[in-house]
Structure formats: structure tokens, C-alpha cells
Symmetry: C2
């Protein structure tokens, strides 16, 4: 049974706070092991990478076979059925069209004091994308990470994907090809992150690393942060569905289950102003759980972390949503856009009953890499901005320096930074001479 | 003596790589101590905060005196001389005018398939700004952190500033007032970061923490990252000056020294195509070092980390600049804007001889919180974006779902995520019925 709460219950606040604070994931402490692996790859380069891949992935590589060749990628792509290929193309085209619109503009202007100011956006030169192997090797995630990088203008985009026992998902390679990925390495785990961050004889280092991974990958990303940029450390996935009475309970049940089936630590929450819908959705979930392929995982997630919350009106639902700050928020009400304006803290919002969250996972266009674990309070999903950086620009004229230089000198002196003040003063003196 | 290099030297590449890789800062390992302090503040709240402040800052507080009252701030602000107040006002006005232009726009459009897509920017609800005490308690940094937060629309902005022995810099309080800061706490160190991240009885938690600090503060920020957002972890400061022959050597010497005087681990580099200027600037630095107040610090920085690099032409200078990825880049050449377009990796660029870097520290308008230690390769200076997050929006119509839903279903099946596919299929079936 999931958690059933109602804002009219006397103990609602206590139970809701407990739900918010519940730790859904045990993070094994692999930090020491990861530190050792990173040090090894830094010290011994390819040799360490090859040994570690033999050990963890049961795969014997050479410096030459660390990367897939163009011909190998061709051969795997030839195995992708046409329907899958076309679906990937549709997804890639739509994701690209959305992310192109995110490109920010440069600016340069002259202000009333005569100072020219502005900024310029440039792409990260080289980026690395981690793709998990095995079950969680999702071609959709390749598109979602690689396309924003290429739209931003990243010149060199490398993928690291472990291929345990030599097995690789051909759709992952096809997605990489469609997204314009430049290099694909058969490496995984902390050793792959170390190679991307520090480089080896055969893997040139990158400036930024993104993409999901297990506890080793996450710990390695934390450790190389600073040497390179990283994206967020993803936690277990969440969905919040806000719905009024006028919904098909089975549709909402499937939306909740499409989160729950990811992982036992995923969380699916329904908030509704209709006690009848609350009951009907809970029943529909149980019915679908009878036959769902991943019913073990989805059922455990729903029982442990799922919740059905009844509220007195939809404003109350929006207020609770802001406290949850969900990764995914589906709003199935009569006026979803209006209600969404009251939901400030969410990674992605899906508006109306015709927009199941799964559309956003694949072909909607917006990114599916989103802030989890309440971090939508302060962070955003992956975007082209993650592969760009901004350089600010400033140019003074003699007149501009005369106008604002004395204030800078005064503040420098008050901060006891004499050379700062003198660097302005020397120029002002020259102007006063002239 | 600083490092003298020339790209025409046989050993240039070796020496330049060594310069790039040199570790300028020892980071003491304070992580265990910090973990203990955070756990203590989480467990005991105000009581821990008050005990730790008595221990580290020799200041006895009560829950009521943790924060400055409005009257206390008034009284300190009354001690700020009019010239300093006016300089702070000039700086605040110019920083605000620059950052207002950074506000990104929301978007919402309908694409050819009938899908409505877009995004919406919203502010972080509550932010905390750390301000170091003692020597490095810079009012300019208060403006640079607080103004972007308020421009972004942060409703609640709290400052933590330690006041060892009860001493506070009145200019810091004046800067906080000018920037619109809502709460100012007399707390510092890891205990302040813990209080801002987790809250105590008297300090409400925030969603994002920014601002510089010592090794304890930096370690605490790393530890609370995830619970709250943080800005970058700042390393020692750097300046790169690219100059042609037509410059006053004394001006450039002062610009180099205005970085060097911050810290022995700061780095100042001159790159020039004029061997004569290289010599003249090095001589001018030595001359200024004879009398500079902070000559011990600035001299040590210049001798240990400073460098003068002679190149054959300015394109070579730009290429080296991209490898250095400097925090501050001053371009003192005949056509600085043109040359700046070849310098993709820099936190802030100062164009032309009338734009000393110190202008940017105080009154230029762009932010002075900038990426250090080569991180301009992948990150940007502080901006309003650091206090905003983006929620993506998607709304399908029945026709849009009919157009793109089958591709989503296909990809869901290929990823073995049955409920994802069913959540789309159930809706498509309804449409096909109709």
C-alpha cells in the first residue's frame, strides 16, 4: 500500500514532512575505491584503463581497441531495425529543434558613462558523456545529453560506454551517430571518468563530463569536479501528478507506474481534490501491477515510496507541489497552464491529460535529464547552457574612467588593496595632466 | 624573479606546461572537522551555533542576537563616511544595471506537430551569502553576490558574516543594505554554512549558498551541495595581461600587482610580442614593489607564480591565453575587441589600456566572482542565472500525440520500459476508438 494522506487529517503535516524527508536511496560508500581507481588511471594511463576493464567488464582491450572504429559503429547500426531507427530520428529531430531555441545571445552596449559592457557565450571545447552499460543503457539518454552539447557547439564530444563481456546496445551507437558524437570508448565506471577528466595516451581529456551512472561513476564525478565541469549527480526519479476528478484513472495509473518501474527507489505521488479519483487511481495501479513486466520493481516503489494525497482545492495542490519540488510534474486539470504558474519548483511540467510524462522521456523535445531529490528548488534540467560559458566584456574610454574611476579607487583603498587603487589612479593622473 | 619564457625557446612547451600545472595552493584537509561541525549544528541547532561561535569567534551570542537588528545595522551604517557610501552607491547602481540585462526570457510556442513547448524561469526562493570576516571582508563582494540574487527575484536573502571579537566592517553592512539583503547573521565558518543549509531554530534554511570563504567554508559548501545549491569553489585569483609595445609599463605593472597583492598564491602573467615591453614591465614591477603596502604578499606572488612570456605575434598570445583560461584577461593592444574574439576561455575580459582590471572589481558592472584555476574552460562568473532555475513545459494535443506518440512508444519498448509505452498506448487507443 502506498501512503494515503489528506490535508484534512490532523497528522497531515507530520506525515507529509516525513514523506518529504524520507531517504529513498542507500548510497554505498565507494569513495576510497574510487580514489584508488582515479589515482591508478592518472599514474598509468591506458595500461590501468585496460586492466580495470578486463577486471570489471571481462573484456580484453588494447590501446587500439579502446575506441569503436567507424566501421564497427557502422556494423552495429546496420542491426538496428528501421522502426527503431526512425523513432530515434524523430526524437533527435525534436530534441534538436527544442534545444536550438535555448541558445542565448551575446550582448555589447555602451552605457551613459561611456563604458562599453557586455558578454559573449562560447562552447566548452570538449565534453565527455557517460552512458551506463547493461539494463540502464538508454539510447534516449544519449540523445538527451549529446544533442545539447552539439547544439552548443562542442567541437569534440566523446562517449564512454562500458561493454561488459563485449556486449553493446546497437541503439546506443545509433543514437550517438544521430547526435554527432565524435568518439566512443568501450570503458566504464570510475576508470572511464578518470580517463575523460585527466586523459591517457589514447583518450584525450575533456573539459566537462555529463551523464548518469552508478555509485562509482557518481563518486568519481564528484572527485574530478573542479578539474572538469560536471552535471548534477542524479538521484532516484520522481513524478508528481496533480489531477482533478475529470481524468481516466487508468491513464494516471500508468503515468505513476512509468516512474515506479525505473527503480524501487523511484517515487510516484498523486495529488487530487477528488477522493473518488484517489481511490480509482489506487485501484487502477493495483490492477496494472498484476500484469506489468516490471511489476516487482514498480510494485516495490509504489508500496514503499508512492503516495496519494487528497486536498481540498487545487491551490493547495500547487502549494504542496512547491514543497516537493518534483523532477516531473504532470498537471491533469481543466486549466493546466494557469495552475502551472503557481508551481515554481519543478524540473519539467507536462500539461493536460494528453501529455503523459513518457512523451517527455523520448520525443517531446525538452530534456529528460532533470533535477531530482527536491533540487528543482535551485537547479534546472540539462540544456545547451551546460555546454556554454559566458565571458564578460568591459571597455572604458578616458571619459568613462574619469567618471567611475574615483569610486573604484575609493573602494580599493577602503579594502586596503593599494595596487588596485593605484592602477586606476595612474591612469586618472595621466588624464589630468592632458 | 618571475618566470621568463619565450615561445622561441627550445624548452618553451615544457616550461609552459609546468607553469599551467603548478599547484599554487595547499588545501588543508579539514573535511573530518567540518563533517563534525555540520552534524553538530544539524543535531543541536542554535545551541551548537552559539557554542561554536563562542569558540571560534570569541563572541557570546544568544538566539536573539544571532542576527543583527535593523537598529544595529543603522548604527553601523551611520559610521560609514559619505565618500565611501557614495562609492558603494555608484558600484551598486552599475552592478544592478549590468545584471538586469542578464534576465533570460520565458518561451512558449506551438510546433508543426501541434505540440506546445517552452520553458519558464523562476527565482530560487531563499539564498544565503557567505561573507568572510577579518581582512578579506570585502564590501564589494557583498554587492557582487547580493545584487544578482535580488535582480533574479530571490525573496529571502540572508548573509552570514563572522564578527570575531564582535568586530564588523560597517561597509559590509552598508553594502548589504544597498543590495537589499533581508537578514544578516553574526556567524561564520562551517557552522554558518550548516545553519544556512539545514536551518536551526533561529535561522531558516535557504536553497542556495554562494560566496567565498576559507578552507572550512569551502569544505562545508562541498558537503551541503545537493541539499542546497552552491556556487563555484573559488581558488586563488589570476590575471593575464596581453599587451603590445604601445603601453605604459607602469600601468601594466600595477595591473599585475593588483592581482598579486590579493594573496601569495595569486598569479599574474604578462604575454607580449615586445621583448622591450617585457623588460620594462618587469622593471616597473620591481620598482613598485619597493614601496607597495602589501609588498610582502605581492612580491611573493610575483616571484613564485608570476610570469612574463614573449611571443612572436598576438595570435600566439591568444592561443596561449586559451590554454591558461584565465580568470581575468586584460587585452592592451591596438584592436582589443578583435583579439578578444580569439580568446574563448576567460572569465572576464578587459579591453584596452583604459580598462584596468580593478575597474571590474568594483564599478564596471560585470560580476567579479569569476572562475579560477582554469575552470573558465567550462564555467562562468556569477550571474542572475545562478539564482534562477528553468522549468520546461510541454503540452500535447490529441493530434500531436497521434503524430509523435508512436515513436515514444517504440523507444519505450526498446528500453524495456513497458509502463512508459502503455501510458502513451492507452491514450492512442482512445483516439483510435473515437
Amino acid at each position: 500500500m502506498p501512503h494515503f494522506l489528506s490535508t484534512s487529517d490532523a497528522d497531515f503535516e507530520t506525515r507529509f514532512t516525513a514523506l518529504l524527508g524520507a531517504k529513498r536511496e542507500d548510497s554505498p560508500d565507494v569513495d576510497d575505491a574510487v580514489a584508488g581507481i582515479i589515482a591508478d588511471v592518472r599514474a598509468r594511463g591506458d595500461a590501468a584503463l585496460i586492466e580495470l576493464t578486463a577486471k570489471f567488464d571481462r573484456l580484453e582491450l588494447t590501446p587500439e581497441s579502446l575506441a569503436f572504429t567507424r566501421e564497427e559503429v557502422d556494423a552495429h547500426c546496420a542491426n538496428v531495425p528501421p522502426a527503431e531507427k526512425q523513432a530515434l530520428e524523430t526524437a533527435a529531430q525534436r530534441i534538436r529543434a527544442y534545444h536550438v531555441r535555448q541558445m542565448p545571445e551575446d550582448a555589447f552596449w555602451t552605457d551613459p558613462d561611456g563604458a562599453s559592457l557586455g558578454w559573449r557565450w562560447t562552447a566548452v571545447s570538449a565534453a565527455g558523456l557517460y552512458v551506463p552499460g547493461g539494463l540502464a543503457s538508454y539510447p534516449s539518454s544519449v540523445l538527451m545529453n549529446a544533442i545539447p552539447a552539439k547544439v552548443a557547439g562542442v567541437e569534440r564530444l566523446a562517449i564512454a560506454v562500458p561493454t561488459p563481456d563485449g556486449k553493446v546496445n546497437p541503439l546506443v551507437l545509433m543514437a550517438a551517430r544521430l547526435a554527432g558524437v565524435d568518439e566512443i570508448y568501450r570503458i566504464g565506471g570510475a576508470q572511464a571518468i578518470a580517463a575523460l577528466a585527466y586523459g591517457t595516451e589514447s583518450v584525450a581529456p575533456v573539459d566537462k563530463i555529463t551523464g548518469p551512472g552508478n555509485a562509482y561513476v557518481a563518486a568519481a564525478k564528484r572527485r574530478v569536479f573542479g578539474k572538469v565541469g560536471i552535471d548534477m549527480i542524479a538521484g532516484p526519479s520522481e513524478i508528481l501528478v496533480i489531477a482533478d476528478a475529470d481524468n481516466d484513472p487508468d491513464w494516471l495509473a500508468l503515468d505513476l507506474l512509468s516512474q515506479a518501474e525505473h527503480d524501487e527507489s523511484a517515487q510516484s505521488i498523486l495529488i487530487t481534490d477528488s477522493p473518488a479519483l484517489a481511490k480509482a487511481v489506487a485501484a487502477a495501479v493495483e490492477k496494472r501491477l498484476e500484469t506489468l513486466e516490471r511489476r516487482e520493481i514498480a510494485g516495490a516503489s509504489w508500496r514503499e515510496n508512492g503516495a496519494v494525497i487528497t486536498v481540498s482545492d487545487l491551490d493547495e495542490a500547487a502549494a504542496l507541489s512547491n514543497r516537493i519540488a518534483p523532477e516531473h510534474l504532470e498537471i491533469c486539470t481543466a486549466a493546466p497552464l494557469e495552475l502551472s504558474q503557481k508551481c515554481q519548483h519543478a524540473g519539467a511540467i507536462f500539461l493536460g491529460g494528453w501529455t503523459p510524462e513518457a512523451i517527455g522521456d523520448y520525443v517531446g523535445g525538452p530534456n529528460h535529464v532533470l533535477p531530482t531529490a527536491r533540487s528543482a528548488r535551485f537547479s534546472s534540467g540539462l540544456s545547451v547552457m551546460d555546454f556554454l560559458k559566458r565571458t564578460t566584456l568591459a571597455q572604458m574610454t578616458p571619459a568613462a574612467l574619469k567618471a567611475i574611476g574615483p569610486a573604484a579607487e575609493r573602494l580599493a583603498i577602503s579594502e586596503s588593496l593599494e595596487a588596485h587603487g593605484l592602477s586606476v589612479r595612474a591612469r586618472l593622473d595621466k588624464l589630468n595632466e592632458g
